[in-house]
């Protein structure tokens, strides 16, 4: 059963990139639609909306991730990210991403400007990138983060690895 669920239906977008669908809460691929009008609500957990991202960016089933909009507000927190960061999606939604994650080394010359990158990606005008982040008010803990576009509507997907 697990192996079957891990297989995601792959589509190709206008740029020729493979795109997959996943739940914004449990990261599972959507179940095959039984209704004439498929629901955007995840049929597995019922607690997330089905989003789309490129196959290389999309989270694995156990990858923690967040979805951020152009105003840098948190729009979704996966179940794994809730556990990892010790936050509750219902409390985190509409709060600024910097309340939870900040660049791991803001002074390093190569450090990405996390917030600018997120705005750019959420606006749909940037490709996927990788950066390093850490939880706010915590030092010595670092996560690699894949950041890229997802939707609909346009938003930035930040996958912690």
């Amino acid at each position: 059963m697990r192996r079957l669920r891990a297989v995601r239906p792959v589509e190709v977008d206008e740029r020729g990139l493979e795109v997959v669908s996943f739940c914004g809460h449990c990261a599972m691929a959507p179940a095959p639609a039984r209704q004439a009008q498929p629901s955007r609500v995840c049929g597995h957990c019922g607690l997330g909306l089905v989003l789309r991202a490129t196959a290389e960016l999309a989270p694995g089933q156990h990858d923690p991730f967040l979805v951020i909009d152009t105003t840098l507000s948190v729009c979704a927190v996966s179940a794994a990210a809730e556990e990892l960061l010790g936050i509750d999606e219902t409390q985190a939604v509409n709060k600024h991403i910097a309340d939870f994650l900040v660049p791991a080394d803001a002074n390093a010359p190569s450090a990405e400007n996390l917030l600018a990158l997120l705005v750019e990606v959420a606006g749909g005008s940037a490709e996927s990138r990788t950066t390093v982040v850490r939880p706010r008010q915590e030092f010595g803990v670092r996560f690699n983060a894949r950041i890229g576009p997802c939707g609909p509507p346009h938003a930035a997907l930040l996958v912690l690895t």
Partner: protein, 303 residues
Amino acid sequence: MFAMRTLKTSEAAALLNVSPNTLRAWERRFGYPKPQRSAGRHRLYTHGEVAALRDALQQGLSISSAVSRAREALSTDTHTLVGALAGFELDRADSAMESALALRSVERSVEEVLLASLGELGERYGTDSAPWAFAARWADGWLRRAQRLAPPPARRLAVLVGDATRNELDADALAVRAFELFCGRSGARVMALPIGGISGLSDVIESLSPDAVVIAGGHVPDDDVALWAYRVRATAGPLPMALFRRTHHGAKVRTTATRILPDQPFGAHRQLLAMIDRRVTHVDDVAALTVLDGDIERREAQA
């Protein structure tokens, strides 16, 4: 005046294109949509809440953000009512309540829109200001009108409310009116009397036969309240007694064997009715035991 479309769980689930289980899971996790209960304890969703969520889900990135957006859409009524009352526009205020009633139950419209708006106006202008007086009088009139339009009492329950508020401009008075309205809509007969009126009180109590007494409001001094309560008990006997919004400078008064009800009128009326129901059940149990005892004695005598 109180037209509100409600949906059963299956209907709401179909509108949102989810399963009824998912809808119940959302209620537990997000507290939204928040159903009322039918007489048979089944969930009843307001169409407005469900429709707002459906629209928000189409543009959302998560259920949480859609719920947040739907709640925001519903809070528009509060903003409209605050604006109407701050602008001394009675017709617009009435319209705002009509809009609120199209999306919510009367109880939720009163708590989430009317009382919330008055609370905001009280904070903004102070409860001794002219805008507050205007708004409070309008709200008092609205609540009394709603009380008159409430369905006739359907239960054999009667509640006597000792009104210890100053007047309709007292910040607690509107909550007390709302509490009376909710009790009335739950099928109880409600009679509110000012605490100051002692004369003829026994006639009223004999006519009403209250199942519970609520002392509501914090303006009247304790001595006067004690005198009134003594008169009530002298006539009606030991009845369950509860306090609603009876605070002095933020501190609750000390009571013995008297229940303090929550400050929110809806929670208070629910707790009061539960208190009365428990008492009625207890009385029934005692009656049943008495019959049982009598039955045993009779059988023993026959033997």
